[in-house]
């Protein structure tokens, strides 16, 4: 047991150990830094899987906890409280899973301030895991804010042309929401005399039956709910608070986009489940239809706007708004199916959209453009890459047998039978499934299919930069696809589409395998979250009028 108690701390702090190692390495050894970072992220992944193994699926509450006093603030104790339940343990693994992919992609593509770059990536990983495991409101807030800093620098230093603008906007936008959340957190701490989420939750649940309730008034509860909700809604982003997302995504370096889409947006959806649903069940039930409508608008709006984009990366960025709309819809379906689906879809979106950003990044590294019109017939030039990209696109589109479908289906199924949303919401949500095919196939058609489009002559000079650094082309053996890219088209001069490098192939294959595994056999994933979602849904159903009534009838 002692060993398991430390496990969660090991997972949380292992990226910091990686940073320490990076800092120890001198400037002279910069070539090795990336390997240290990669190994460090893999170690974290390994520990997170051990954590998953130690996790007991049958229990609903927090597990593998670690509780201690951090510091005292006047009368208030801020505790160091980490623990995982079925929801957060999966998100921790997702974080640890996405990070090596981001680093893997960066290996040969990032050559500027390498040490700093990887330090920020690992710091980001630390902060994100921290958000998922922190069970103390104050601690949660600290991690939440810390996660902003490395992302800000990643966008601001390694981003594209308008990186400063995007970074500042990202920072301010998120910060604005966080301030409201901080106020709400302080109020909560003051009111309940603790920042411990589990204790607050217990107090609220205990007060649910009493006439005075857990909060002084409904208005207070509403304001508190909104304090959390707006912070999370910005992060998700829920329409119409999405304006920072296209900027940040388009300007961020590929690894940044992957992490942003893969994990960072899930901080918001995680927060919605953990805090809004967990701490304000009554308000969640009341506001569910309104939030459901916002989610539906997000689903359709994101898909529609996505379709009109001329920049591949922006298209994928807007698709996130649509996909996250599904997650929010599932969360506020307030039943077990919806919440389970939403949780799985958080993971799925991390895999599929993260994968799509990798694909876009690989295209960009080859052609140095993201304009959809510049591409065409890539399938012919890079058949293996395109095949993998196709699977990722389809998984994002929600094709049965791949991961996206399982999540979307469960969410929509939950929505259709939800005690607060119902069939109408499912109807419009399902329209989003059609629209997903519209924009993704548009992208796929324009970029990968059609006649092979050779790049304009002016772009040729850049290609030398695209492949690996000089002689450091490790793993030539893996490069079996090299001839394939060539023989399909016989135009002279330089090949605008150098074949995939081993790290790129590995990253994509891992994503594709994950998509298939979850798509074909999601049972274990649902298994991990089942007890937790069951408890959450059961708790929520107490606040749903007709539901509670019908359950009483059944009981009698």
């Amino acid at each position: 047991m002692e060993k398991n108690d430390m496990l969660i701390n090991i997972v949380l702090f292992s990226p910091l150990v990686g940073i320490a190692l990076l800092l120890i390495f001198g400037r002279a050894r910069e070539e090795r830094i990336k390997w240290v970072a990669l190994v460090s992220s893999l170690v974290t992944l390994a520990f997170s899987i051990i954590l998953l193994g130690a996790f007991d699926q049958s229990k609903a509450g927090m597990q593998l906890e670690n509780l201690g006093e951090w510091f005292r603030l006047g009368n208030y104790t801020v505790s160091y409280y980490v623990g995982v339940d079925g929801l957060s343990v999966l998100l921790v693994v997702l974080t640890a899973f996405i990070m090596p992919l981001a680093i893997l992609f960066s290996l040969y593509h990032v050559k500027d301030r390498v040490r700093l770059y990887y330090s920020f990536l690992l710091l980001l990983e630390f902060a994100m895991i921290g958000v998922f495991v922190a069970q103390d409101l104050f601690m949660f807030y600290v991690f939440w804010e810390v996660s902003l800093v490395p992302m800000y620098f990643l966008v601001g230093i390694w981003g594209s042309e308008q990186r400063i603008y995007a970074a500042v906007k990202f920072f301010l936008y998120t910060m604005a929401g966080s301030i409201l959340m901080l106020l709400a957190i302080l109020w909560m701490g003051n009111h309940f005399g603790t920042f411990n989420v589990m204790q607050i939750k217990a107090a609220i649940e205990a007060a649910a039956g009493t006439p005075e309730g857990a909060f002084p008034s409904a208005v207070t509860e509403l304001l508190l709910f909104l304090g959390f909700f707006i912070a999370f809604a910005i992060k998700v982003p829920i329409w119409p608070l999405h304006s920072w997302l296209p900027d940040a995504h388009v300007q961020a370096p590929t690894a940044g986009s992957v992490i942003l889409a893969g994990v960072l947006l899930k901080l918001g959806t995680y927060g919605l489940v953990r805090f809004n649903l967990g701490l304000f069940p009554q308000m969640s039930v009341t506001l569910a239809p309104i939030i459901g409508i916002l989610a539906i608008i997000g689903i359709i709006y994101g898909a529609w706007v996505s379709y009109a984009q001329t920049d591949v990366k922006k298209l994928v960025a807007y698709s996130s708004i649509s996909h996250l709309g599904f997650v929010v819809l599932g969360i506020f379906a307030l039943n077990a199916a919806g919440i389970s689906g939403a949780t799985l879809q958080m993971i799925n979106h991390g895999i599929s959209t993260g994968g799509l950003f990798l694909v876009v990044g690989m295209l960009y590294e080859r052609r140095h453009t993201k304009a959809i019109d510049a591409f065409g017939g890539v399938w012919k030039a890079l058949p293996v890459f395109s095949g993998l990209a196709l699977v990722i696109t389809l998984s994002s589109m929600g094709l049965p047998g791949l991961n996206g479908f399982v999540g979307e289906f469960t969410i929509l199924l939950g929505t259709a039978g939800s005690p607060v949303l119902g069939l109408g919401f499912a109807f419009f949500g399902t329209i989003g499934v059609i629209l997903a095919a519209v924009y993704l196939l548009y992208m796929w058609n324009k970029v990968f299919m059609g006649e092979y489009k050779a790049p304009a002559a002016a772009a040729h000079g850049d290609f030398a930069l695209a492949p690996a650094t000089g002689g450091g082309h490790e793993g030539d053996g893996e490069d079996v696809h090299a001839d394939h890219g060539h023989d399909d088209h016989g135009h002279g001069g330089e090949n605008p589409y150098p074949p995939l490098m081993w790290n790129e192939v590995t990253a994509l294959v891992v994503v594709v395998v994950a998509a298939f595994v979850i798509g074909l056999y999601p049972r274990p994933f649902f298994g991990y979250m089942d007890a937790s979602t069951n408890a959450a849904a059961a708790e929520l159903s107490r606040y749903i009028p007709n539901q509670a009534a019908s359950e009483n009838i059944q009981a009698e």
Binding site: N9, G68, W70, Y80, V142, V146, F153, S243, D247, Y301, W304, V305, Y307, A308, Y318, N335, A336, A337, S340, G377, W379, K380, L394, L399, P400, G401, F405, V406, T410, L412, L413, G414, A416, G417, S418, P419, L423, A426, F427, T430, I431, V433, I434, A437, V438, L441, W444, N445, M449, G450, E451, D488, Y521, P522, R523, F526, D530, T533, A537, S550
Partner: protein, 837 residues
């Protein structure tokens, strides 16, 4: 039976393994090997299906539910009471579909080896084809709606991949193919939307998506024909009863019998009958998508951009019939929803008529067949809408035979036209003669004549002499499609018309009368456009050099044609209606087949269609070959006569084989007694259509300036042009759906989201407000009042700052490192409590 049925996962796995082998090893394998792997996979799947058919027949047609190995449960969420397994069902309906899919599939695989020869992505083609089979088999073998949906979308994906197979053709062709592929996928997605909604409704109504639970067995008692449905289904092993133990269909029956059941959907409630109607209508949207009915049929004609074997397999014989399968599978639901059934019928007949009309005015050989397919699918949908589930399935099967035959025949023609084109332009083209069609994609590049279209029937003519086997098989397919006695199409079409007749005259349903009338007209169209095609393609004189030089295709292509032709001839015997002498029909079929065999003799061909010009490709007749042909022809004719006149030979032959077979898995299946008057009228309509076409398109098949005869005549010009323009469906959709969607998308993205929300609102309003506020605070407030007071302090600070200035190096890196250092410090503080523990 259990043991034999447990092989059913193999039916899916074999094609899948074939696809994987070709995907990963295809590039190291020869074309022959690739084709062999793929065809073997399909053939083995067929063999297993055949064995299971024998097994189920021997075991009283009892259905079996099989869980595949390893994948026990798919969507399993105990907290939400969701348990959707990967589970397969072997019953007579799924076996029928399995046999059709794998049987026709195997032949088309074989054909494709010849057709795709030399293509640069030969292996990939077979990967997709095998993958398609796997998904199609998942669709038909699944025991729940979600598994069916997996197959449903999976075949859509394969269809997408195969339509866009030649996405890289030059001169805009590639883009056209890619867009056709995309259109197919998106339109099908619209259909899938309906199916998904139906699935949601089913789940919240029944609490399960299983057709039948494993412990429910379709159970027949007493006389099969009178078996009432409630005795068909035996509920689970007593005791724990309860509706949750039963599958969707058993619950439906139970609740309908009970009456007055109310379904609660969380936020609202509906009577059970209304729910059923809703479910079936949503399902219908799915059917119109996949089975190309109004209003979602528009993708299918464009789908002809795919290689011809694909058109034959996916877009004629198998995938597009999934909708008919779906309605047949859910016959319990449709039976309980008369309104939905009526709408199904009306959509079916409208589609049959509309597509038949459009087919009259097409020039592309494959487009004619495509619209013909849409029309025939309309027949099937109308049939199942009228409650003729067996009739619909019967037409599905025969149509799979003769439409696959026709498509493969057209592929043979196109192939020959390409060859002929190369051949005709080979002079002076030294490198152009590298065995013709090395790459179909490069087709348009070759030769001087880039506009040459090997699929345009105006370029053909007189091919009967050049391609005798293709011609005669095509002729058999045409006659079957036109519903000429005694070919397969006659029987299945007659069954549908009989259903319509009964629905109208016996049950007094309006849609029955409507269907009878409309389908008769559509049948007339069918005969007319098919004979027009025969006239344009095969008869008359060659109109281009390519047509004059077109050679007969290789055996790997003609053998599947011959097999399919045989199936087309004998297919009707599957389900000869009551009131007909079965032995007579069988005898006639044998005799006909015998006479048709004589076609193999050049002398016979010479007699009917004259000599090919030039004579070079005419094979010399081997005397032994002549002997074999004559002997087998005589054998067929004699055995036909024997069946007719020796009663004991035909004694074991049953009428209505298909009905008797299907009623073990499809509730509400009923047979039909032949209505001789109706049969004669239907036959006359077919013959009249052919004769009319023969008259119109003689002596010359084309009018001046390559116009159609109908177009040249003022009286029919408008109608022809309307037909030729495909009734402006695409234009209408483009104008009212596509363009508004695109415009709205552009407006949303550029104006609303970017200019207004992103730029104006966030940039101007937020930032400028902040700036102005900051200015206000800075200048009057800060400078005015506060500044003075703090000036003294500030000066002091400034002095200190000057000393510190050395630290500020001005390098971003240094700042960031400092920041990082700070962050690490915070982390160390975080670590403190741990260390304390």
């Amino acid at each position: 039976m259990e043991v034999i049925a447990s092989f059913v996962p193999l039916v899916v796995i074999l094609p899948f393994v074939g696809a994987l082998i070709n995907l990963f090893l295809g590039r190291y394998m020869s074309e022959k090997l690739i084709g062999a792997v793929a065809t073997t996979a399909a053939g083995l799947a067929f063999a297993i299906a055949a064995v299971m058919t024998i097994g189920i027949t021997a075991h009283g047609y009892e259905a079996t539910v099989v869980n595949p190995p390893l994948l026990d449960s798919w969507l399993y969420i105990p907290s939400a009471a969701i348990d959707i397994p990967w589970q397969m069902r072997v019953d007579t309906l799924s076996l029928t579909m399995m046999l059709v899919v794998t049987g026709v599939g195997t032949l088309i695989h074989l054909y494709a080896i010849g057709y795709m020869h030399g293509d640069s992505r030969f292996a990939r083609f077979f990967v997709y084809l095998n993958l398609f089979l796997a998904f199609m088999l998942i669709l038909v073998t699944g025991n729940n709606f979600l598994m069916m949906f997996v197959g449903w979308e999976g075949v859509g994906l394969c269809s997408f991949l195969l339509i866009g197979f030649w996405f890289d053709k030059k001169h805009g062709e590639g883009w056209k193919n890619s867009n056709a592929a995309r259109k197919a996928f998106i339109v099908n997605r619209v259909g899938d939307f309906g199916l998904l909604m139906a699935i949601f409704l089913i789940f919240w109504t029944f609490g399960t998506l299983d057709y039948y639970k494993p412990n429910e067995v379709l159970h027949l008692e007493g006389e099969p024909h009178s078996a009432a449905v409630d005795t068909l289904i035996r509920a689970g092993e007593g005791g724990h009863g309860g509706s949750s133990q039963k599958g969707v269909f058993a619950q439906t029956e139970a609740w309908l019998a009970e009456g007055g059941h109310i379904v609660s959907f969380g936020v609202f409630e509906l009577p059970f009958e209304t729910v059923i109607t809703l479910i079936t209508l949503f399902m219908l949207i799915g059917v119109t998508g996949k089975s190309a009915q109004i209003p979602l049929f528009v993708w299918l004609p464009d789908a002809m951009a795919g290689p011809t074997p694909v058109s034959a397999l996916i877009h004629a014989a198998t995938m597009v019939t999934a909708g008919v399968y779906l309605i047949t599978r859910t016959s319990v639901l449709y039976h309980a929803a008369p309104l939905s059934s009526a709408i199904v019928t009306i959509i079916g007949i409208a589609t049959a008529l509309m597509a038949g009309f459009i087919a009259l005015g097409q020039w592309d050989i494959k487009k004619v067949l495509a619209y013909s397919t849409v029309s025939q699918l309309g027949f099937m949908v109308a049939a199942v809408g009228l409650g003729g589930y067996a009739a619909g399935m019967f037409h599905l099967i025969t149509h799979a035979f003769f439409k696959a035959l026709l498509f493969l025949g057209s592929g043979s023609v196109i192939h020959a036209m390409e060859h002929g084109h190369h051949h005709a332009h080979a002079h002076g083209h030294a490198e152009g003669d590298s065995h013709g069609h090395d790459d179909h994609g490069e087709q348009a590049d070759h030769g001087h004549d880039e506009a040459f279209d090997p699929q345009d029937m105006r370029n053909m003519g007189g091919l009967a002499r050049r391609m005798p086997i293709t011609f005669v098989t095509y002729l058999i397919g045409t006659l079957a499609l036109a519903g000429i006695f005694p070919l397969a199409g006659f029987w299945s079409k007659d069954e549908i018309l009989g259903k319509a007749f009964n629905a109208g005259f016996n049950d007094g349903k309006i849609e029955g009368f409507l269907a009878l009338g409309v389908l008769m007209v559509a049948a007339g169209f069918t005969a007319f456009y098919m004979w027009r095609q025969i006239k344009l393609v095969f008869l008359g004189v060659p109109r281009t050099e390519a047509a004059a030089a077109a050679p007969e295709s290789s055996p790997s292509m003609t053998i599947p044609l011959l097999v399919l032709a045989a199936l087309t001839i004998f297919g009707g015997a599957l389900n000869v209606p009551l009131g007909v002498s079965g032995v007579l029909v069988l005898g006639v079929l044998f005799i006909m087949a015998g006479f048709w065999l004589l076609w193999a003799l050049p002398g016979v061909r010479l007699f009917f269609i004259g000599r090919a010009e030039p004579v070079t490709s005419q094979p010399t007749v081997n005397p032994i070959f002549r002997l074999i042909v004559l002997a087998s022809s005589a054998a067929f004719i004699l055995s036909g006569a024997a069946i007719m006149f020796v009663p004991s030979l035909g004694a074991s032959y049953q009428l209505e084989v298909l009905v008797l077979w299907l009623e073990h898995s499809v509730p509400y299946t009923k047979g039909l007694t032949l209505n001789p008057i109706l049969a004669i009228v239907a036959l006359s309509v077919g013959i009249a259509g052919i004769l009319l076409a023969q008259r119109v398109y003689s002596p010359s098949a084309l009018a001046e300036g390559n116009q159609d005869i109908l177009e040249a005549q003022p009286s029919t010009r408008a109608a022809f042009r309307l037909s030729n323009a495909k009734l402006y469906w695409d234009e209408t959709y483009g104008r009212f759906i596509e363009q508004p969607y695109n415009r709205a998308a552009a407006w949303l993205a550029n104006k609303l989201d970017w200019e207004f929300w992103h730029d104006r609102f966030h940039h101007t309003v937020f930032r400028d407000f902040y700036k102005r506020a900051a200015d206000f605070i800075a200048t009057p407030v800060d400078r005015g009042a506060i500044d003075q007071g703090f000036l003294r302090i500030a000066r002091g600070v400034a002095q200190i700052a000057a000393r510190l200035r050395g630290v500020q190096t001005g390098y971003v890196r240094t700042y960031v490192f400092t920041m990082l250092f700070g962050v690490v410090l915070v982390m160390l503080i975080l670590l403190l409590p741990l260390l304390r523990q």
